[in-house]
Symmetry: none
DNA sequence: AATGAATGAGGGTTCATTCAT
DNA sequence: GATGAATGAACCCTCATTCAT
């Protein structure tokens, strides 16, 4: 990548970031390209030159975001930590939560955009499923996941929890400092309401 | 309520329903009052005559919806069923899920509207907390809820799951017919990933 | 006029008054029939039943107002007072000024409504001219009006002052209490800036 | 000012002029931005791009108008003419009158707009008062203004006349050609109804 | 490649007026 | 005769997008 291209990529990146920040706070519809342009310090038309349309800008932003998320999950999975720790790291992904209405925002993007849905519904879903399976395997190996439970149910369970978390940034952030409570909830995920029976 | 008022209320109701249906599918911003008017078979202005503004229409729709939800929960709580059954009934509130993006839609409404937030954040939150506490008491009495776990954590856990479910109508509806899977997931809520240890 | 008709006339009158009061403060355009209806304590449709349209309501209100004004002028003219006193009474018609943007309001009505213009431009103008002539005659007889000055100029002069006063309710009302200043200005009207030269 | 800015200013000016012309004839409320846009030969949105809102457009138009008026008055004051001539020039400002419902229009603008009122009520009023004082001084020096009369009364007198004139473009324009009548009225302003006593 | 200027389409809202009771 | 309900037209304004430089 030469100097020209690097500068170009930097401008794209600054636009993407401005868009991301605004989208997260206000949602897609409420953010106008003029807002994004102001925040990125460029002209509206420059956004068109780089991305073609608002829709395509959203695509790019969402894609990037999801890829970053995947990357992070991959990292966590490969770390040398216990199953409960990994659960905690993934489910309570703090940067995601801090970022605000991430999940809702993502789902909305995906739901409202067929093309995006296809891209993500295939590649991304496949990867995340793959990773979740791996996590469950680790859990079973460590005795935290009941082998009698169907994988389907487990994955749905995890997905529901993740979405519940994503959908509750308000709750979560307000309780972030309370480490004990945090642990207790992660414990509930693993041992349920009945609790550990030693 | 005489004939006049009944007809008025019917019209209001038909507008509310049309609005609800559209809001659930497309979100508040994407739905124009003209859309609502078309669907309800009235003029746009009629909506203004009845509700005053789009914002107030949203208020009414959301309030109604939440009150209905409360009513249903109350009913379930008072039924003579086991704790897991009540959990299932409440958490997987099928009519809510069938209604679509209920949770997301609601949260958006509440998040973006201070007045509404106040109304619901006080009265509604108080009631639902009260009811959840009652449910947990029943769970403890029946041995399904570990008394050592803090109430705070339990309530947060339930809230996260409920939101996760609400935020996943796509997943849930697609799996609705599979009763076994349903039960399994409810089981996970109660016994965790570790599962029942007999 | 029997009981029925009296009640009818009362209702008309109450609507007219409500309209008048609002028109004076906010002007024709800014006042909606709904405002008038509220203030008069009737339905909008009742206004239609009585007056036919907003335009016609304005007609009636303006006509009534002008007739009242004429009546008052007539009274002043016939009183047994000096010319300067009559000048003062007519030019600084306190009730008119207190009523607010009367003059502007009237002129607007007249200017924007051909039919009304005709009615008033003929009958009313004729009457007021007649009366002004009479006033000037009295002034000449009492030595306050220079007989060498053309009647045309005098009448224009008076009209300009009257309009100037009408157009300045803000100034006038704020200075109302200062009787001396009041007299001084009336003095200026009669003796000019050069002042009395004895 | 380079080419870009010049063209921009020209467009702004053409919009302002179109607005001015329409406002003068029909008043603020009756003129829609779409009317202004048509007359100026631009899109409605262009007006928004340049002025932000209808309110702000009105501000600009009124401000400009008043500044022009001030400028003209200043010029007259500095000319080497007699007091009566200056009176005539200022009070019967022909271009203002020809412009139509100037005074009424202005007053309405000022009355209905707090921000504008502040701007004009302070700076503009101060300047015009200053200038009027200067005019009166000249009048006294030349023996046309009675030194015994209070300045307050004199200024009020002048203001009333000016407003009367402004409020009567119909009368004035119809009598414009009659120079003799014009003079006579100006004479009345100075010598009053009693007239010159030689 | 970047921008200021311009715009068509559409959204929420108000209002004078009509309809049905 | 009086009213609640309903509406078409118009208004101010915003936004994604294109044009011209």
């Amino acid at each position: 990548m030469n100097g020209f291209e690097r500068r170009k990529e930097q401008k794209r990146e600054s636009i993407r970031r401005a868009a991301m920040e605004l989208f997260q706070v206000h949602g897609f519809n409420k953010v106008s390209l003029s807002d994004v342009a102001s925040r990125a310090g460029v002209s509206q038309v420059t956004i068109y030159n780089h991305f073609g349309s608002k829709e395509k800008l959203i695509h790019e932003v969402v894609k990037k975001q999801m890829e970053d998320m995947l990357e992070k999950y991959r990292g966590i999975l490969r770390e040398d930590r216990s199953f409960p720790e990994k659960m905690e790291a993934i489910v309570f992904d703090k940067t995601q939560i801090a970022a605000g209405y991430q999940g809702e925002f993502m789902r909305k993007a995906i739901a409202s955009d067929p093309e995006l849905r296809q891209y993500l519904g295939s590649l991304w879903q496949k990867e995340i499923n793959q990773m979740t399976l791996e996590l469950l395997e680790q859990g079973k190996a460590q005795g935290f996941v009941n082998p009698a439970t169907s994988t389907k149910a487990l994955m749905l369970y995890l997905e529901i929890m993740r979405r519940g978390i994503f959908a509750s940034p308000d709750l979560i952030t307000s309780l972030m400092p309370d480490i004990a409570l945090f642990r207790e909830i992660n414990f509930l995920f693993i041992y349920g309401m009945v609790g550990k029976s030693e």
